[in-house]
C-alpha cells in the first residue's frame, strides 16, 4: 500500500466510524478524489465496427455492403495515423480528441472461441472469463478489496454483472436529482426501525438492500448542488454522463463509474439507428470531457467504451447486420495515449461472415485496472499484458 492509499484508508475508516467529525469525512473524500478514475460505457446490443471505424479505401467493404456502407465522401478521415480507416460522420465530436492524441481506437477486440449470443458474450465481458465459470464481475472483484461501498457506482436502474462482487454490488443510482426519500414522518420512522430488525432468507436480502439505499441517500444527497457546465444529449445516456460528471466534481469518491447505452442490435435498418446512437455517444463523451476539464479532472479520467461483439461483414436482406465476433473499443481521456491499436481488418479472412478477433479484451482491462492502481493479475486471475494506453 502506498502512502496516499494508507492515508485514504485510515481517514475513511475514521470517517465511517461512529461520531467522526465531518471535516475528517471531507478530507477523506478529498484524498480519494485525487485518484485516477475509470468510466466504463457499455454499448449493449453489438455495435458494428465496420461502419464505426470504416475501411473506406477497401473496395470489398463496399461490395459486401451495397446498401449500408458509409459513403466514402462522408467518412471522417484520420490522417496517417489512422492508416486506411476513417470514422463514421456522427463521431465528429471526437475528431478533435483524435487530433489531440487523446483517443485510442482498438479494432476487433474479443476473446478465444467467440460467442454470438448477446447475453453470453455480455457475461463474458462482464466477468472477464470466457470459460464462463466466474460468478462475479471484474470490477466487482476489484471492489471486493476496497473499503468504501461507493468505491464504484453504476448509473442506471440495476447494477450490471461487471460490478457485482462477492461481498457487495455497486450502488445503482439512476439520477442525482430524483434520489431522495419522500415519505411522511411516520413511514420514514418505521423505515428506519425496520432497517434495524435482522431477518433471514430473502427478507434479509431485502433489508440489506434497504440499508444500501439508506447509505446512498446520504452520500448522493450531497451532490445536488453540483451543476454541469456542458450540454449533454437529452436522453438517459446523456443524463447519466452528466451525473457522473457531477459525482466526480462533487467528490463522491468512486474510482469507477459505469453506464450503458443500448439499442445497437441493428439486424434491420441499421444506417439511421447506428448514426443516431453514435451521435449520442460522441456528443455525450465530448460534453463529459468539457465538464472534466472545468473540474480540473480531465487528466485523471480514462473512459473505456465497449460492446459485447461486432457485427457480421456482409449485410443481410433487411439493410442490417447480424451478430459477429471481434468489435471496436474506444479509450479516451486527457491522460490517454491516442492512436490506432491494431491494423485494418482483413475482409477476406472471415469466420462465418465475421471479423476475427485480434486483441483480447483482457489486455485492455489490464490497462484500465493499472490506471486505477489495481493489480490486473489479482482481478483477472491470470497475466494479461496491459495495452500501453497511457
Amino acid at each position: 500500500m502506498n502512502r496516499r492509499a494508507f492515508i485514504q484508508k485510515s481517514l475513511l475508516t475514521l470517517a465511517l466510524g461512529q461520531g467522526a467529525p465531518s471535516l475528517l469525512a471531507r478530507t477523506a473524500l478529498a484524498a480519494r478524489s485525487e485518484g485516477k478514475i475509470l468510466v466504463v460505457v457499455n454499448l449493449f446490443g453489438g455495435n458494428d465496427q465496420l461502419n464505426t471505424l470504416v475501411p473506406y479505401r477497401n473496395e470489398l467493404y463496399y461490395r459486401l455492403r451495397p446498401h449500408i456502407a458509409i459513403p466514402r465522401s462522408e467518412v471522417l478521415e484520420l490522417g496517417v495515423r489512422g492508416e486506411r480507416l476513417g470514422l463514421h460522420p456522427a463521431l465528429r465530436p471526437l475528431i478533435s480528441m483524435w487530433e489531440g492524441g487523446e483517443l485510442a481506437l482498438i479494432p476487433q477486440v474479443g476473446y478465444p472461441n467467440p460467442n454470438r449470443s448477446h447475453f453470453i458474450s455480455t457475461a463474458i465481458w462482464h466477468t472477464a472469463d470466457p470459460s464462463r465459470k466466474a460468478e462475479t464481475g471484474w470490477l466487482g472483484r476489484w471492489g471486493d478489496a476496497q473499503e468504501d461501498p461507493f468505491c464504484e457506482t453504476f448509473l442506471g436502474g440495476a447494477t450490471p454483472l461487471a460490478q457485482v462482487g462477492q461481498r457487495r454490488t455497486a450502488p445503482a443510482i439512476n439520477g442525482i436529482d430524483a434520489f431522495s426519500l419522500r415519505l411522511p414522518r411516520g413511514l420514514e420512522e418505521a423505515f428506519e426501525r425496520e432497517l434495524q430488525r435482522v431477518r433471514s432468507g430473502t427478507a434479509e436480502e431485502v433489508r440489506r438492500a434497504m440499508g444500501s439505499l439508506r447509505t446512498a441517500l446520504t452520500r448522493v444527497g450531497q451532490l445536488r448542488q453540483v451543476k454541469n457546465q456542458a450540454q449533454y444529449p437529452e436522453n438517459a445516456f446523456g443524463r447519466s454522463l452528466a451525473d457522473i460528471a457531477r459525482m466526480i466534481a462533487g467528490g463522491l469518491g468512486s474510482s469507477v463509474y459505469y453506464t450503458t447505452l443500448g439499442g445497437w442490435d441493428t439486424h434491420a435498418g441499421q444506417a439511421p439507428r447506428q448514426a443516431e446512437l453514435l451521435g449520442y455517444l460522441a456528443q455525450g463523451l465530448a460534453a463529459f470531457r468539457t465538464d472534466m476539464r472545468a473540474a480540473g479532472r480531465d487528466k485523471d479520467v480514462l473512459i473505456l467504451v465497449f460492446s459485447e461483439f461486432g457485427r457480421q461483414v456482409a449485410e443481410n436482406a433487411s439493410y442490417g447486420t447480424d451478430h459477429g465476433e471481434g468489435g471496436l473499443m474506444l479509450v479516451l481521456g486527457g491522460g490517454v495515449k491516442g492512436g490506432l491499436y491494431g491494423g485494418e481488418p482483413d475482409l477476406e479472412d472471415l469466420e462465418l461472415n465475421a471479423l476475427k478477433y485480434q486483441t483480447d479484451f483482457r489486455n485492455v482491462y489490464a490497462a484500465a485496472l493499472q490506471w486505477i492502481e489495481a493489480n490486473p493479475k489479482e482481478v483477472l486471475g491470470a497475466e494479461f499484458r496491459p495495452l500501453a494506453l497511457f
Binding site: F179, L181, L183, E205, V206, M210, E315, S318
Partner: protein
C-alpha cells in the same frame, strides 16, 4: 401427508398465482380446500376488453400508454387474475419490445397478449407455433424481412437460445439453417391495406411469401428438413425445451434457484399436461408450501403495483391524468414498463429489482397510502401486513 391449507397457505398461493388479493378471497380459498382452490384459480381466463384507439399509426407512445393502462386495469378487475400473472410470464419469456418493434401498433401488442391468454395454459408447442407467426414477434426479431438471399438470423437465434433449448444445445450452423427455413414468414396489414391508408386499429397478419422462401434442404440438429414448421416441430418434440421452460416457470413461481429434481419432474409434467397441468402440479406440491420457498421471490414492479393498488381497494389507474403520469414514470424508474422488457431475454428479476434507485421509487410510492388505513388490506399482499406502517417492511417486497 396432506398439505396443511389454512389462511397463510391460501394467502401464499393467491399471492404467487395472481399477485393480487384481499382477505376474503384467501378465506374463500381455504373453504374450498386446496385442490378446488387451485382449479378455481386456474380456470379459463376471462376475456380482456377490446382495444380501440383514436391515435394515428405514428402516435405510438400514446397507444403504448393506452394498452398499458388497459392491461393493468384488467389485471386489477378480472375474476381470473392468475391468468394475468401468467401473461406476464409469457410476455417476459416470448418477449417483444414496444420501442424496438417499429411499425407494430398497440392493437398488435394487445393481440399478442390475447394469444398469451388464449393459449397460455395449454401445450407449450401450441403457444410457440402461434407466437412464431405472431406479427409482433415477426417484426420484433426481423423475420418479417428475412429473404432467401440473406436470411436474417435474429429470430432463429433467439428461438433456440431463449425460447426453447437454451445455450449449449445447438451450434451456429443450426441457427443459420433454421434462419433459412423461416425465410418468407412475414406480415402484411390485414386486408392488404397500406400503412398510409389504414387506421391504427388495423392489425398486421401473418403471411407466407413463397418467393422469399429458401426451399432447399436444411440440416437442423442433425435432421434434414425444409420448412419453419418442421423446425418448430423438432423443437416441440425435444425434451430439453421442456426442461428449459419448466426451469423458467419454477423461477417465476417458486424460487430463483429451483432444485434439479423439481425441474426434471416439472419438465415431464409440462410436456405431458401443458402449463395448466404444470401449475396445478406445482400449486399442489408440498414443496410449494415449505418454509424454504415462502417469501423467496421478489415482487416485480408490476406485481408490486397491482398488488398494492388492489390491497388499497383501487380498481383503476389512469395514466393520462397527472398522478397517473407519475405512476407510469415510477414504473419506468422501477424498471418495468408493460410491453417493453429491457431486451430480448426479458426482465432479469429477483434481487436486481432492488438496486438503490428502483427500490427508492418503490418506497416513495408508499407516501400515497398515509392516512388511507381504512381501505388498506395487506393480508394477502404481504406477510406481517399489520397496518400501513408495515409497508416499509422488507416483507412488502416479497411474493
Amino acid at each position: 401427508m396432506p398439505i396443511r391449507f389454512s389462511f397463510p397457505e391460501a394467502a401464499h398461493l393467491l399471492r404467487r398465482a395472481a399477485a393480487r388479493g384481499r382477505k376474503e378471497e384467501a378465506q374463500e380459498l381455504v373453504e374450498m380446500g386446496l385442490e378446488a382452490a387451485v382449479d378455481h384459480l386456474l380456470r379459463e381466463p376471462a376475456p380482456a376488453p377490446p382495444y380501440q384507439t383514436a391515435a394515428s399509426r405514428s402516435q405510438r407512445a400514446q397507444q403504448h400508454l393506452e394498452i398499458s393502462q388497459l392491461w393493468l386495469n384488467h389485471w386489477l378487475t378480472t375474476p381470473t387474475p392468475a391468468a394475468e400473472r401468467l401473461v406476464l410470464f409469457w410476455h417476459g419469456h416470448l418477449t417483444s419490445e414496444f420501442r424496438e418493434t417499429l411499425g407494430a401498433q398497440g392493437i398488435d401488442f394487445w393481440n399478442q397478449f390475447a394469444t398469451f391468454r388464449r393459449l397460455g395454459y395449454g401445450p407449450y408447442g401450441e403457444l410457440l407455433k402461434a407466437i412464431a407467426q405472431d406479427p409482433v414477434m415477426l417484426l420484433y426479431l426481423n423475420n418479417a424481412e428475412s429473404r432467401k438471399e440473406h436470411p436474417n438470423q435474429n429470430w432463429a437465434r433467439e428461438l433456440l437460445e431463449l425460447y426453447t433449448l437454451g445455450p449449449g444445445h445447438y451450434t451456429e450452423e443450426d441457427i443459420l439453417e433454421a434462419a433459412r427455413a423461416f425465410t418468407g414468414w412475414t406480415v402484411r396489414l390485414k386486408g392488404g391495406l397500406r400503412p398510409r391508408e389504414a387506421s391504427a386499429n388495423v392489425p398486421f397478419e401473418f403471411i407466407f411469401r413463397p418467393a422469399w422462401h429458401d426451399g432447399g434442404v436444411k440440416t437442423f440438429l442433425g435432421r434434414k428438413l425444409r420448412t419453419g414448421e418442421e423446425v418448430l416441430e423438432v423443437l416441440i418434440q425435444h425434451p430439453q425445451t421442456y426442461r428449459f421452460v419448466a426451469q423458467k416457470l419454477l423461477r417465476f413461481y417458486l424460487t430463483p434457484t429451483p432444485p434439479e429434481p423439481l425441474v426434471q419432474e416439472g419438465a415431464g409434467v409440462l410436456q405431458a399436461d401443458g402449463t395448466r397441468g404444470f401449475l396445478r402440479w406445482l400449486f399442489t406440491h408440498e414443496s410449494f408450501y415449505s418454509p424454504t420457498y415462502r417469501n423467496s421471490l421478489v415482487k416485480s414492479p408490476l406485481e408490486y403495483l397491482v398488488g398494492l393498488w388492489y390491497a388499497a381497494g383501487v380498481s383503476r389507474v389512469e395514466f393520462a391524468s397527472q398522478s397517473g403520469r407519475r405512476l407510469y414514470q415510477a414504473l419506468a424508474a422501477m424498471g418495468q414498463i408493460p410491453f417493453d422488457p429491457p431486451n430480448v431475454s426479458g426482465w432479469e428479476g429477483g434481487l436486481s429489482w432492488l438496486a438503490e434507485s428502483p427500490l427508492l421509487t418503490r418506497i416513495n410510492l408508499l407516501a400515497a397510502f398515509a392516512g388511507r388505513e381504512a381501505r388498506l388490506d395487506l393480508s394477502v399482499f404481504m406477510d406481517q401486513g399489520d397496518g400501513t406502517l408495515a409497508l416499509v417492511k422488507p416483507e412488502a417486497q416479497l411474493l
